[in-house]
Symmetry: C2
């Protein structure tokens, strides 16, 4: 349900600049923008009546009505008569977000693939594109060129109509990113140093998106670390507005993840925060790829699982096979009761739970989300994870934390990049021009993962 998307910032976070400015110079346009943003963010929590919006935003009803009218002109909201489904009193008019008016694109550059997502303002994934590509082995120019092609493809698939506004493009990279300058400082697995990715992609996109018929603003490109963006996606796509504290852990060759504190991804003073895979769990343990011993990922990364689950000649070690296929093999064995597989899952689950207990003790999240292969094999890992958490977490009942499996799968980083690209527009809805008619035309989207809502106007 797109209406359940959480507000990424508290009301007011977006108004700092505006307020100060305003207070000094009484800039009414800034106040208006601020208030439009407040109402738009409130609508992302789901349809509501004007009086409800007034309460949510602490604005007067008259102001809310005027703001809703402006959002409707810009094609971002519409009003419909609520049916009275068992509700006492007369049905009121409810205002709802028009998600399809705005599209954001998210791209993940990884070692051997590119993945792109088109996400609308309501958080609905409208198109996806994924392509194998030797990012680590090609020159930067070639990578950027292919990125442009992939983004163009996902945009074509996702654009709902010629009234759709492109909010921006987010890019997730597997390395340390200077977010302010959009530069990938170090990406060891790509052999990249100081690559000005934002500028390269912007230049490429200026060309890519020069096709007619869409309100395509010069696309704002934002670059960030893929683990941060995946964490942001898991937070943003969560269904409960109260889940403002979250720990995300994803299993692959390494173990990655991130921490959300009160709605913000923890980045640390130099952008190095959330380095979960190399927590020193077992100082006497196996040597890790990083050269240290007993890092957490040596205990529950993919290598540990495959080592525990099968002899060297077992087909699960066959790199020619797709990873998903090999994991399916393990799942089938577990379902058939294979002892070695079940023991391996139990051991991996315990190691995962052991480390996760530390994160819960430190961050006291409401939600622990497991992604990557942890999610794919979740049904088998969860019992051991939960037993370990119950034994290791100090706070009663895990301090209120729930454990959930990610549903974003391989799309987490690209989806997070798209969510990040939506932010500037959420801060300033006047970036979206008025529609030519005051209605949004029927969707012409070529692939949607969710049916757009019916038009009312």
């Amino acid at each position: 349900m797109p209406g359940q998307i959480k507000d990424h910032q508290r009301a007011g976070d977006s108004v700092r600049g505006a307020t100060t400015h305003l207070a000094g110079r009484a800039d009414q346009a800034a106040v208006r923008r601020t208030n439009l943003a407040l109402v738009l963010r409130a609508l992302r929590g789901g349809p509501r009546t004007r009086p409800q919006l007034a309460v949510d935003t602490r604005l007067t009803k008259a102001t809310v009505s005027s703001l809703v009218a402006e959002l409707a002109e810009r094609g971002l909201a519409r009003t419909h008569q609520a049916t009275s489904q068992g509700v006492v009193g007369r049905p009121g008019q409810r205002v709802e977000l028009v998600g399809e008016r705005v599209l954001a694109l998210g791209l993940e550059l990884n070692v051997d693939y590119l993945a792109a997502v088109g996400l609308d303002l309501g958080g609905v994934q409208r198109a996806t594109v994924r392509t194998s590509f030797d990012v680590a082995g090609r020159g930067i120019d070639e990578v950027v060129d292919r990125a442009g092609t992939v983004l163009r493809e996902v945009a074509r698939k996702a654009l709902a109509s010629d009234q759709t506004v492109l909010a921006g493009v987010g890019v997730a990279a597997p390395g340390l990113v200077d977010v302010g300058r959009g530069v990938v400082r170090v990406a060891p697995n790509l052999h990249w140093n100081d690559v000005p990715l934002r500028d390269l992609i912007s230049t490429r996109l200026a060309r890519t998106f020069a096709f007619a018929g869409h309100h395509l603003e010069p696309a704002a490109v934002a670059v960030d670390n893929e683990a941060n963006l995946a964490t942001f996606a898991e937070f943003s796509a969560g269904s409960d507005a109260d889940d403002r504290d979250l720990v995300y852990l994803t299993g692959g060759v390494g173990v990655g993840g991130g921490i959300v504190v009160d709605g913000r991804v923890v980045r640390g003073s130099a952008g190095f925060a959330g380095e979960v895979g190399h927590l020193a769990i077992d100082p006497e343990g196996e040597v890790c790829g990083c050269g240290r011993r007993g890092c957490w990922e040596t205990l529950c990364g993919l290598g540990a699982l495959l080592h525990l689950a099968g002899a060297p000649d077992d087909p699960i070690h066959d790199h020619e096979r797709d990873l998903d296929e090999r994991l399916d093999l393990l799942r089938d064995r577990a379902r058939a009761g294979d002892k070695r597989t079940l023991r391996a899952f139990d051991q991996i689950g315990r190691a995962l739970g052991f480390g996760a207990s530390m994160l819960i003790n430190l961050a006291n999240p409401r939600l622990l989300v497991l992604g990557g292969y942890f999610a794919r094999l979740g049904e088998f890992l969860l019992p051991a994870v939960e037993a370990e958490l119950a034994a290791r977490v100090v706070a009663p009942e895990l301090g209120g934390a729930r454990v959930e499996l990610s549903r974003l799968g391989l799309w987490a980083a690209a989806t997070g990049a798209a969510y990040a690209a939506l932010q500037p527009l959420l801060d300033d809805p006047t970036r979206v021009p008025a529609t030519s008619a005051a209605t949004v035309p029927a969707s012409s989207v070529s692939r949607v993962t969710k049916t757009p809502r019916k038009e009312t106007g």
Copy 2:
């Protein structure tokens, strides 16, 4: 230098309510309060000229001048001619904070003592009181009564003049606190459950502070967890405004601490965050007081140190002696080159560094502050701590983190409580009435740890 106190909130954090309100209703008084708060917070960063303040606050120079005049009327700021110490250009008038106009009190309730601090607006500790008291063994009423006595004593010592305004009282408790309601939910070491400490102390203080001659508003009492408040104090007292990410670790019988992310103490969804002492470092290790095995505090808490450093009949185990005295004994032995002591310090330092590396990998702080006995024996522990960090932290050069020893010592929690009590006034400087003359009278403080600045007016 009191002027180096950091801004606890970013400009704008305090204006959320005001903005929304304002935007709907154009409440000029709210704007004024907001802007006064902006200027006051800027002045806590040190003296500056009006043009500098205009840049810091993004207000116009005219507005800044008017706000500075109002702060001066309220006795919170004064202007003085800057001497030109090698500065090019003509010396300008600089505005500085008048710290002694406002006093906040902080109280720590712990198992066997009460400690109180009087802190002025500039962060200068103006008085301290500490008394042994069997908090755990006495009834709540008796504890509250003694707390009132201690607070009255520290207030008498710290009040600079009859123009001093009492901003509020903060209380640090060793347990899980419902901060909103001011209730200590569980304090195992005090055997407390659901104690409405805020209301009890408020009621007691209404009586305590009924002595004449001071502008003593009904003291706003705030209760919070002692580790959170100690962490907040270490953050607030830090000298560098860029240190917005910090990890604090304090050694005692247990190991406590907290994490500051972007200027805010991480509390978690239910207030359980920062539970560092029970990180599961060694699952095969010693049994901890919590019943689990190998918790971090079994490896570097005071018990581990004393066990490693001396045989059972060694006087360092003599509970009749003051702890400081016993630690001094160990320090003297280490200085004399005693092998067992040095080995113990090395082992404790390694265990401390091992766990601390995890916190640095997760939070990427700018500063790791060691408090409690870690600070007292810091000179001996640091080499091993730093060696372990260098080996275990993934980010190059510790991700930019420095390691420092706390200078707040036993006063960290009470100081943090006082800092917390200053916050409402920092959000709304109009809580401070205009002075009867437009100057602050000479200090009549009976004990100050820093000499108040000379009056200019």
